[in-house]
Amino acid sequence: MTDSLAIESRGLTRTFGSCTAVNGLELRVPRGIIYAFLGPNGAGKTTTIRLLLGLLRPTSGTILLNGELLTQERRELMRGIGALVETPSLYPHLTGQENLEVTRRMLKLPRSRVADALAVSGLSADGNRVVHAYSLGMRQRLGLALAWLGEPSLMMLDEPANGLDPAGIRELRGRLQQLAHDHNVTIFLSSHVLNEVEQVADCIGIINRGQLLFQGKLHELQRYQAPLTVVADRGLDAAALLKANGWRVLKNSENLLEVQISLDADIAAVNRCLLDNGLHVYRLERRQETLEDLFLRMVVN
């Protein structure tokens, strides 16, 4: 199981004084997918990424990258990992090409990697300009080029769409999907742009106040979807009947009730239960929620 995971954490905890930034995190990130790590500001996303990159030491717990235990001494584990943490770490007095060349030298990569990385990020024409003349979007693309420079098998990206225009975001989305699905690169990305995450992520993890609230495939979030609204002729009788059959009734009144369900098949089951017992069902409605709706409801609740 561990071998099929690009990232695994066991009881990962990090405290800063009396503040617990990350609390018992059990991450399971399969290889070759796009894993979106979501959470409100201050939830612990960046702290988690810094722990995964070895920039911070865990207070307790362990981290495995590609099945190998991460420690301060085992720097070679970071080979094959590319990262972009918050803002890109660029030297504004150097050109785009020189910025990539600095990392290329340290990683002992072939010289051709610089031109390749510039081409992939669409900065070939601007490679000889100093970075302090770059726009925000260009800096972000150069930061992504830096993360990609070593052709890693695992990329950790913190807010990669920051500063990109819609065309740039779409291009990034396509690029990430291509890397994950065609080149088996695992992409661990944290983002606030939930509608973008919805389009690219294979799995998501939702963190709030240092704790993982949900981890799994997008469709598994269904069980957190909005309840089923039922309008029936005898609401109170309908509520009693459904409770007796094991359904969780969240709200009920004379004609209207809300029933907690997980799957679409449950809608038919609720309907059948009421009809079989002589009740008239006038309306069944389940509001389709976006990832944003689900996310907000999970972190607020």
């Binding site: 920039l55 720097r75 970071m78 990262a83 918050e86 770490s89 660029l90 007095h93 990392t103 990683l107």
Partner: protein
């Protein structure tokens, strides 16, 4: 340490177009030209046979005693600032490169800049002394102890290792320029208080006075100053690299 060469090559590239590199050339050049200007304005009738030696000594004294401690602090701060100001640590320390190698390379880069400035200083003194000789025909017989100049500057640079390692440690530990500059200013003040009072032992042990002690050719404490500067530089540098390698960078 096996990646040291590659990391040094990267450090060298980072110094392109930086203020640190420009200062390494311009600071000693300005001092040399300043003293040159003073001597160029002197009357040609002065027949002091040691005039050019005096020119060299004045230049080296201004540089070593007054300027160098602050200059070394500034260079250390500027080398560290390349990463501090650009959030470079979170990228650098996440790379598959031994952290101690990264910090050793920073040290070597800083020492390289100090040696560059020493070379510029020595070359500048000799060149401007020759220019003075050409400008003032009556000074043509005044000897210029070029070997003494180069040796003095080299030994002074070696003796600067101790103070530079301390400054580098402070600059890499704190993002702000302030701690390093404050330490250098206080050290300079202590130096100006202690040495004129003839506290020679203090002068030969205090890191910030070692470059001056090593500069003077007839100073009996010269070997101690050079030895302590080198040994202290290596020891403090090693401890600092060890400490910084284990720090977390949030």
């Amino acid at each position: 340490m096996k990646d040291l060469f590659q990391v040094l090559a990267a450090e060298g590239l980072k110094l392109r177009r930086t203020l640190a590199l420009r200062l390494a050339i311009w600071c000693p050049t300005v001092i040399v030209l300043l003293v040159f200007g003073i001597y160029a304005g002197r009357s040609e009738k002065l027949g002091d046979p040691d005039l050019l030696t005096g020119f060299a000594q004045l230049t080296l004294t201004i540089w070593t005693i007054i300027l160098f401690p602050l200059y070394a602090a500034l260079i250390a701060a500027l080398v560290a600032a390349v990463e501090h100001q650009n959030e470079g640590w979170k990228h650098l320390l996440a790379l598959p490169v031994d952290r101690s190698t990264i910090f050793v390379a920073k040290w070597i880069a800083g020492i390289g800049l100090l040696l560059l400035s020493s070379l510029v200083l020595a070359t500048g003194v000799v060149a401007t002394a020759e220019a003075l000789r050409l400008m003032k025909p009556t000074w043509s017989s005044s000897p210029l102890p070029s070997v003494m100049i180069f040796r003095g500057i080299l030994l002074s640079s070696c003796a600067a290792g101790f103070l530079f390692s301390i400054q580098m440690w402070i600059s890499l530990r704190w993002r702000s320029f302030l701690p390093g500059i404050v330490v250098a200013v206080i050290a300079l003040a202590l130096m100006f208080v202690a040495i004129p009072r003839g506290i020679a032992l203090f002068g030969s042990l205090f890191p910030w006075s070692l470059p001056a002690m090593a500069m003077a050719p007839h100073n009996p404490y010269r070997p101690i100053a050079v030895g302590l500067g080198l040994l202290g530089g290596v020891l403090v540098g090693a401890v600092a690299c060890w400490h910084l390698s284990r720090r977390e960078f949030c």
